[in-house]
């Protein structure tokens, strides 16, 4: 996925995170959860290591905006930070991509996420 002159992939200053947009900027919680669960630890760690140091700054920036009405680049940046919450489950909690002894695929789905910013 590449940006255009009219609309970059991510806001200015976050160009280094562009390679992660394709996989890690999932459009809703179920997709973001599923993508992390489907990735191997190496892939998750690369994303986690790149995203963690930028997340606080990104959230403070996004916090000044209307999350119900974000422009494209900011939407994608926000999705990346939300994916960090899922990556953290693997890196900080399980020590592996998915919960121990949990089957994959499985039938449990997030069928309805938050109303504000899917």
């Amino acid at each position: 996925m590449t940006g255009t002159k009219q609309e970059p992939l991510l806001p200015a200053g976050y160009e280094d995170l562009e390679p992660f947009v394709d996989y890690w900027a999932g459009e809703d919680g179920q997709v973001r959860w599923d993508r992390r669960a489907s990735a191997d630890m190496a892939k998750i760690k690369i994303f986690y290591d790149a995203m963690l140091p930028r997340a606080k700054e990104a959230l403070l920036y996004l916090n000044e905006l209307d999350i119900g009405n974000l422009p494209g680049p900011e939407t994608r940046l926000f999705r990346l930070t939300l994916s960090l919450a899922h990556a953290a489950m693997a890196i900080e909690v399980h020590g592996q991509p998915r919960a121990l002894h949990a089957p994959f695929p499985h039938s449990i789905k997030l069928v309805k996420g938050p109303d504000i910013f899917a």
Partner: protein, 420 residues
């Protein structure tokens, strides 16, 4: 026999004994017998009041939802009338039995059956029959949608599948209904919904949500540290109270919980939003009105963490520091269950709150998965018939009470006998 005592717990006589329950091992047969399952469907699900949804799922006049009750082969159409009342009907066309409303939810004052376009008002009356003159003395007033008894308690919609329910919802809920009256249900119009189908008996799932004993073993990192502390490693129940077929119990939390040093994302979230926590999403100031109710957070128990309220037969209304959540355990067969969890969370107003919500959802999702394979393994073990009895401990009182109550309903000729 109803218990009228206050909550008891701690080092005194066990909760189980004080509640008047036996301490004997509990039979496994109800979890694996297709015959017993059918008895449950006929004697429990077709006679009890069943919790279906919150009123907020029907936000305006003519709102409707369709809920399936697979174990009874029924599809239920629940409709908010023009005057605000909520009515339910069998989603079955009186012509030749087809399904009338085909979608899960919507807004409509009329419904048309797709088969032959018979049209109904949302109060069930048959309004129109195409080619009516070709029928033989069709009495339209007798051909409306079959109504289902429906009552609302504290914003929860209940139905009763008996054509003429023996008791009212008020009588069914009894003192439990009184105990839980007046609670301010925060964010009742904004649930996060998790659902799936599990290869186990519905009671196996219900049991898993009714005790904290499994937390250190099954949820050591996702949940364990937030519940258990050095002084209370098994998060013993703070108390339990039986209300006829229903029951309430309370679990403590670890008030000294701190994220681990390596939990960088959780720590970052905490820094950005100091008044929220790993297991709650909203600022604590927003929650006071909800928490202040004695049935939610008792004033004299500072370690209170979670309130679990089993609404007989198959649902829970639970309270946490961050809000309330409900569980539904719908039987599909003797060893299959449809689970639905609704976690009511205050709508986020900014990016940081929305991020904390994603963290919370991510953690809940992992907790669900840790339970998932576990309940399916349990069912497999039960069906092996290697053992015939469960050994339950005192903090598993809710499990014992649920099984005892189901047995009572299965053996009772009348609902009043079952409630006695």
């Amino acid at each position: 026999m109803n218990q009228h005592s206050n909550f008891v717990g701690g080092e005194q006589a066990s909760l189980t004994v004080q509640a008047g329950l036996s301490t004997r091992p509990v039979p496994m047969e109800p979890y694996r017998s297709p015959e017993y399952y059918q008895l449950e469907i006929d004697r429990v699900f077709k006679r009890a009041w069943l919790m279906m949804c919150r009123v907020e799922e029907l936000p305006q006049p003519n709102s409707y939802v369709v809920k399936e009750i697979e174990c009874c082969n029924m599809s239920v159409l629940i409709s908010r009338q023009n005057n605000g009342d909520i009515k339910s009907f069998h989603n079955v066309c009186p012509h030749r039995g087809n399904q009338v409303a085909l979608d899960e939810r919507g807004t409509a004052s009329r419904f048309s059956c797709r088969y032959h376009s018979w049209t109904f008002a949302n109060d069930g009356r048959l309004l129109g029959v195409p080619d009516e003159t070709s029928f033989f003395s069709l009495d339209k007033s007798k051909c409306g949608l079959t109504p289902i008894a429906t009552e609302v308690w504290e914003g929860f919609v209940f139905i009763n599948l008996a054509p003429v329910p023996e008791v009212s919802l008020t009588e069914f809920l009894g003192e439990f209904g009184e105990h839980m009256k007046g609670i301010h249900y925060i964010a009742a119009d904004h649930p996060i919904v998790v659902a799936g189908e599990l290869k186990c008996n519905w009671k196996v799932v219900s049991d898993a949500f009714s005790e904290a004993y499994h937390i250190p073993a099954i949820h050591p990192r996702t949940l364990g540290p937030t519940f258990a502390s050095k002084s209370d490693p098994f998060a013993h129940l703070l108390g339990a109270k039986l209300f006829g077929p229903h029951q309430s119990s309370m679990q403590p939390r670890n008030v000294e919980y701190m994220p681990r040093e390596t939990s960088h994302v959780e720590l970052m979230g905490q820094t950005l939003s100091p008044s929220s926590s790993a297991i709650s999403t909203a600022d604590s100031s927003v929650m006071e009105k909800y928490l202040d109710h004695p049935a939610v957070r008792p004033k004299d128990i500072p370690t209170w963490g979670i309130g679990i309220n089993n609404v007989f037969p198959n649902s829970q209304i639970d309270f946490g520091l961050g809000g309330f959540f409900t569980h539904y355990f719908w039987p599909l067969s003797y060893n299959r269950t449809r689970y639905e969890g609704r976690f009511y969370m205050v709508r986020p107003t900014n990016a940081i709150q929305r991020f904390r919500m994603e963290e919370h959802i991510a953690r809940i999702s992992e907790i669900m998965l840790e339970d998932l394979n576990n309940v399916e393994r349990t069912q497999k073990g039960l069906e092996s018939r290697a053992k015939d009895f469960m050994q339950l401990q005192d903090n598993e009182i809710a499990i014992r009470h649920n099984i005892d109550t189901i047995e009572k309903w299965v053996r009772s000729e009348t609902v009043r006998d079952a409630l006695a």
